[in-house]
Amino acid sequence: MSDDRKRRIVLRSQERASDAGGPPEAPSTEAPSTEAERRAAAATRERIERGTEPLVAALVAAWRPAALSETDHEALLRRALDGDDLAPPTAAELAEAERLRHALEAFEARDARDARDETGADAAEDPGAVARVLRAAYRPGSIDPRTNDELVERALAARAPRRRRRRVLPVTMAALATAVAMAASAVLVLRVARERLEDPSIRGMAAASLVRTRSTAPLFDESAPFPRTGGETARVDRIVSARAADLRANRFAAWGVP
């Protein structure tokens, strides 16, 4: 009879004794166990029966160490004496790796919310969780397009408005300040120009330098009368040219340009 079987018999007999009204137990001061606690206890019992509960396995190995196989012995010696990290795995390591592989496959095949491996463990205690995270980082799988759109939309909605709010106000204020400064400069320049015009000394100088209208006779040789016919076009050409120069002079005088 194996030790495991003996252990199970002991545990069951204790339960039967308790159920059959065995020796009366002292009244318990603890609160009654919850459903979650009972499930955890059942899971622990099953791991102990399978021999996969780490604490129990360590205690059993310390109390009654089992014989090592030749392969395991060789692997342990190589790691300890030679520092060979590439030594072949032990049987326990192989069993653990197999269990991890089953857990990964079970998680992928089932719904993540109700992920339970073959031993009935919760998703929170899934031993494959770390491996899955590492694998997703190394070789990420494809994401559902709807999920992707939802994630992008959520990210943009959360970030964009805040960013826009932060940028619009300074830009608007800068634009308004620039416009006001330009307008104030224009008013200042125009006011200065007007003050110059209103300054009596300046207006007097400007008035004195303006060219007035006058007879065009001095433009022609007064010692020679106009020809009996013809010459009108040449005369008016000369008049226009002369008065155009006068107009330019008047404009410069009005602007205060000497």
Partner: protein
């Protein structure tokens, strides 16, 4: 509702426009009299050379050049039309400046010459009278108009003579002689003044 960046731009433009309008209104109180008013005058009330005068003189130049082209094409009626359009058109407001009067007078003299050459003696005489009313100063412009009157009457006398109107021809010839004499008198005065002033322009 405009987006915020466009709203800020619109607000800035409105602010600029309002400021510019206020500044222009500010300046308008001291701006010189606008073109077309009775007088573009300086602070002493004298009329100054302004863009309106230049525009009128440029129009006169264009009319004379148009008449030159028409005469070169043997189309005197088009030359008369161009000059008539000028002398009958708008002119700078108020009392005519000396330049305006002299340019109009010269155009009238040319019209009189063109019309009398076509036999329109009455219209030509009217042109001379209009021109003399403008060029009242003793200048070659007035002398030229008086000479144009003499030419008109001389042509009229020739035409009347050809028609057998001896009396009419004689009267016209007398008017022509008188006009030529008046032209000589004016031109003598101008020349004398020129010589008196040392011939300076």
């Amino acid at each position: 509702m405009l987006p915020r960046p466009r709203l800020s731009t619109a607000a800035a433009l409105v602010a600029l426009a309002l400021t510019a309008a206020a500044a222009c209104a500010d300046l308008a109180g001291t701006a010189p009299a606008p073109a077309g008013s009775a007088c573009s005058c300086d602070s002493l009330g004298a009329r100054v050379v302004d863009p309106v005068l230049l525009a009128f003189l440029s129009k006169a130049r264009a009319a004379h050049h148009q008449a030159d082209v028409a005469q070169a094409a043997a189309q005197p009626e088009k030359a008369i039309e161009a000059l008539e359009r000028f002398v009958s058109g708008p002119r700078p407001g108020g009392a005519p400046a000396p330049e305006v009067a002299e340019v109009l007078a010269d155009a009238r003299a040319r019209l009189a010459d063109l019309r009398s050459a076509r036999g329109d003696f009455d219209l030509a005489a009217r042109d001379v009278d209009e021109g003399l009313a403008l060029a009242e100063d003793v200048t070659h412009f007035r002398g030229h108009l008086l000479e144009a009157r003499g030419v008109v009457e001389e042509r009229r006398a020739k035409a009347l003579e050809d028609r057998g109107d001896v009396a009419g021809a004689r009267a016209a010839r007398e008017r022509a002689v008188l006009a030529f004499q008046q032209a000589i008198d004016v031109q003598d005065q101008v020349i004398a003044r020129s010589l008196r002033d040392g011939g300076a322009p």
